[in-house]
Point group: C2
Chain length 431, copies 2
């Protein structure tokens, strides 16, 4: 039983080919770290002719046969998407193989069932690469912070949208122009929906929240707004109040008025102060900011995408899973013991920034302020700038239930004295 550990690789795109190359280049290191050499014994792809760089005898189109092959010890899944990845993963577990995956969509949709299947089979399911690429964040949440109580996890976890928002801030461009540039440079895909509309970030938020709060959270539980409605005006208004606009994945433990805790998970663009550690995370970088009761504030920063960075996370998991296999034990899976309720967005406390064009005449500020008060929303700061017969009102609220805030905005739009609502964006991280 001293032969190599045998690995089946499912998928050989950017990440898969980096995994294959690094396993070959660093073969001696892996053998030393694991205590046994690692050998890739098969690579499942759809079109073998598209992979001239892979030794041809390794290629197969029959992924199912590969994962259930008797001599395979571990499966690395970097196909992405829901099917066939899910069926292959379940087949692997049933055949007694541990799985390392980078598949955020699948884990966010079906993590509970997959973990249950892995636990039943006594094997491992690791997926550090699914969130924030190379940044070690899932294992720190699951293990390093296992002795602490987390209150918030706030991430910039999508490089495409972060690049677009960074460019909008740097150049004053609108969303469309910045997206076109991102597409041209390869930072955005031809169909950018998954990134731009926040689906990618929402899947990652579900995974982060599940681990942070010991509570199963799926992508469907995550409130989601993308960045396509963010305007150049929003970005310049943010700068005027010392903020910058970021697409945030926010996972919070919220204590209700009855003292019971719930979990709020949401993805939306927000203004954050330029002094916040997340504010300087620009371009294609990712970062995850964590607040814990004892540890205080922590931040994890690095490259969130790309073949080699993602492969680094996959291979870290591979070493762990291989060591577990040699030790004859599966690692500790995530725990859902807390099983907190997921709080609807309408009841989640948020803060808003609102810019209004109003008539510059007596009584307007009073009427606007009354509208906030009638919805139970308390105002933190107001700045009024006159210009002829019109004025600009910039209001930042205190925290209130999101439904009360959005109802206030709807009511403001109907007020005769309000000529236009020029910018509405949530605000995070203000003291």
């Amino acid at each position: 039983m001293n032969g190599p550990l045998k690995v089946a690789l499912l998928g050989c795109g950017t990440v898969g080919s980096a995994v294959l190359r690094l396993l070959q280049d660093q073969a001696g290191e892996f053998a030393a770290r694991i205590g046994r050499p690692v050998e890739v014994v098969g690579v499942a792809v759809r079109r073998p002719q598209h992979h001239p760089d892979v030794p041809q005898h390794l290629l197969t189109t029959d992924a199912h046969a590969l994962v259930t092959r008797e001599d395979v010890d571990l499966v690395v899944e970097v196909i992405g998407g829901i099917e066939p990845a899910r069926s292959l993963m379940l087949a692997a577990f049933e055949a007694g193989k541990s799985v390392v995956s980078a598949n955020k969509a699948l884990l966010a949709e079906d993590g509970v069932a997959l973990h249950a299947a892995a636990a039943k089979a006594g094997v491992d399911l690791y997926y550090e690469a699914a969130v924030a690429g190379a940044i070690p964040i899932l294992r720190p949440l699951r293990e390093s912070l296992a002795g602490d109580q987390l209150s918030r996890v706030v991430g910039i976890v999508n490089g495409t949208t972060n690049y677009i928002l960074s460019r909008m801030a740097e150049t004053g461009a609108g969303f469309g122009e910045a997206l076109a540039e991102a597409t041209e440079l390869g930072y955005a895909e031809a169909d950018p929906t998954a990134d731009v509309d926040g689906f990618d970030a929402a899947a990652k938020a579900a995974i982060l929240a599940s681990l942070a709060f010991h509570t199963p959270v799926s992508a469907a539980d995550v409130y989601r707004e993308g960045i396509s409605t963010v305007t150049a005006t929003d970005v310049s208004r943010a700068a005027e109040i010392g903020c910058t606009v970021k697409l945030l994945a926010i996972c919070e433990r919220v204590t209700g008025e009855d003292g019971s805790d719930s979990v709020a998970v949401r993805v939306h663009p927000a203004m954050i102060p330029t002094t916040h550690p997340l504010a300087s995370v620009s371009g294609a970088f990712n970062a995850v900011f964590v607040e814990a009761v004892a540890a205080g504030q922590l931040m994890f920063y690095g490259q969130g995408a790309g073949g080699e960075p993602t492969a680094s996370a996959v291979l870290g998991d591979l070493v762990a899973v291989a060591r577990n296999r040699l030790a004859g034990a599966a690692g500790q899976g995530p725990s859902g013991y807390a099983d907190l309720a997921v709080r609807p967005m309408a009841e989640t406390p948020t803060r808003y920034h609102v810019s209004l064009d109003v008539a510059d005449k007596p009584g307007v500020l009073a009427a606007v302020a009354l509208e906030f008060a009638q919805h139970g929303v308390s105002i933190s700061t107001v700045r009024q700038t006159g210009r002829g017969d019109a004025a600009t009102l910039v209001i930042v609220t205190h925290s209130a239930p999101d439904a009360a805030l959005s109802a206030t905005i709807a009511a403001l739009r109907e007020m005769p004295a309000v000529r236009g609502v020029t910018s509405v964006l949530r605000v995070e991280g203000l003291s």
Copy 2:
């Protein structure tokens, strides 16, 4: 065998009392995460009368009897220092108990022997709290990045010196004045030697290097300079070239001319560009910047000291060690398989910033430049500012062996045309 896991706590200062309190406050959470309740069955202290808040029946002055008590499962060591911590740890291992420690000095001095003793006994030795307080960094290095090849680890790992340097930059104060302020505010101890002279950072550098490069490195292997020689002039010269001064713990893999790799580990003040992620880590915060071949650049940021943050790291380890104990297996210890040579500082490549007061007459720049060339040191940038018959020369070198650079400085001091060497500091992170 469903009774509580029994913990012996050695030491009950700031960290120990936070550990005790959090274990009590979060008892239900710990039981759920570990799968069994945790009970502190004894607290060893020198002076029981100084601990009125601890249940008196738990207190003992006989630490040795406590760690070897038959019913004790795990030992938490937060005494610090070499002895009696080392003897107690060895006694715990011999008695089959796993140990969680926050003891950087001991781990840096004697890590190899302690790990060997733990491995021989089949128990765990975890010490996340020993480096950078609450920041998860040791486990990410040991596990998350186990599939990658690390090239550098650069840390701001001492809050006292970082506070002093931050204040010098903000106020223009000299070292003495900033130290006095730090002492008054409780950021520096009455005897600040361990922090100010870099001993604390050097111990942490040894631990980081050992894990990063799979090579045993002890505190004695670390080149060390403190910050007491950093002047207000150094700090303002740094600002002039777009840099800030930080005390850095730098662990590098260096490839020699013969192609063989070695490890260079050093602690010294250095100028880093204000655009570097470490530059904005100010006050008492810590951060560790990591460069890996596949992952690229990563940073880990958070609170580096304090009772609760350090307790968070201790308790994360406690949960891991407890789970291992219940699973009947010890976790993976660090590996020293690479066993690279430690490169002497004289042969370690560094870059210098030098400011000179020189006579403003023909031939001086040529003479100075010749001095660098004769020592084999290449100049990256020169800025000359005339003022009457004198001039200031600010030179940043390319990378050269540290011995060549320090020999150049010594030679410059002897040159008749050089009226004074006003600032010398190494430079890191410039492209």
